[in-house]
Amino acid sequence: MPLRSLAALLPLALLSGACDRHEAREPHGGEPRELVVLAAASLGPVLFELGPRYEAHSGQPIRLSIAGSQTLAMQVREGIRCDVIATADRATMDSLVARGLVATPRVLARNRLVWIERAGLADEVSSAVIGPARLSSPERLRLVLAAPEVPAGRYAREALARLGLLESAHARLVSNELDVRGVLAKVRLGEADAGIVYATDLPPGAPGVTVVELPARAQVVADYPIARVRAARSPAAADELIAWLTSADTRAVFGRAGFAPGDPAPDAAGRGADAELGDREP
């Protein structure tokens, strides 16, 4: 029986493949084609809020795919079908620019790092210091960071180096998490004592963790560049989305999530040019 029901599914699967191809051949059908947006994990919540708003605003359907920046970059390198990519650092985006895979990026938003420690840690240890200063005290500390290959991990190490604490951090490191969410999860669950994450990773009043701001001299500003993928199937729609996301319309949502605004959007100029082109068309 199960075999037979599986067999029944097969033609369905083939059919859906056929539909997909059909759609590819006729890009100017009635419905506008779905715009595929690859975005870094930390941008997820904001974009999930803004996505439906943009769909309502422009009638352009959007599909979000959220993953670590490196994974996204790899997907673009492997030629996955997508239109827009937003990463959590410049280096990852620059590697795509260098390969000619994306158009000139624009800074979508900026983020900052914070030190987090599990709730209750302060009561258990004797030392009076909190925050990264714990790293220079003899107390035992289980530190988790994002892996050095991940933007959040690279920034965290840079911040610790500026504080002269990198070596003692390495001595207390128990895990290189594969993305910044892993760091937060392990501290929130109380399995690790402390970690460094983006300010935006913490929902307001997140339970289970105490947030400590890093000293200004250690603060590394994380830029989130966004760019159109050169192989985009709807380049104009992709540019419009990027212009909207970097416009003043979305600033409040980014701000509420803890992001600082990115580059002042040259949206007026960009839109003007688009409109001009549009006017010239018969």
């Binding site: 490191l173 128990v174 895990s175 998490e177 594969l178 392990k186 399995e191």
Partner: protein, 257 residues
Amino acid sequence: MSERTSRVVLVLAGLGSLLFALPIAGLLARAPWRLLGEVATSPITSTALALSLLVSLAAVLASIVLGAPLAWLLARTSTPGRRLLRALVTLPLVLPPVVAGVALLAAFGRRGLLGGALAWVGLELPFTTLAAVLASTFVAAPLLVTTLEAGLAQTDPRLEQVAATLGASRLRILWSVLLPQIRPALLAGMALCWARALGEFGATITFAGNLRGRTQTLPLAIYETLQTEPERAFLLACSLLALSVMVLAATWRRTAA
């Protein structure tokens, strides 16, 4: 079987083999073989490889010690709740590995069910090599248990009874009567268990974390390398593939013999 059905079967079987063969062919084609020497001798590879061997072998050992008695219980006795027990043992096979990792944290983490008791005896599992072994055992042992149970079900308990009436000790019966009969199943179970333990990723990253030399097994090293040097990751993946094939091939020949 009619001519037409057999052709359908052939076509589907052909598609099926392509599904398995193509990703492997892709991996082999994409790997930068000129870097082989460099990658093979790099510290990240050797450390991860050594740790992977240690962790997976320890997991196989633990699976035999804890799993063989379970298989025997399931195959030979009519213990009440046997079906429930069998379902429980097979559960890790269908559980997504990350869920397995979360479950392990819930049981053996610092805040887990046994966290307090473990801390009392001075044991803290998360982020340790032992945690990686536990994660691998949890996901891989069911393969050994189910294979061994199937093997045991085909043996005849009367042979052991005869041996007992002839005065053989329990150990002697196990070694000279039971073991020769279940050898193929035991070896196949060990091979599957080892291969699965070698490839463990999700439960390990969740429960044991990722630290070179302590919990970074080969699959974790592959994933981390994929982030920065994807070409090298292909090569590392090939090495894991070769290792798994060797494990399976070695035992396949023995079980077939």
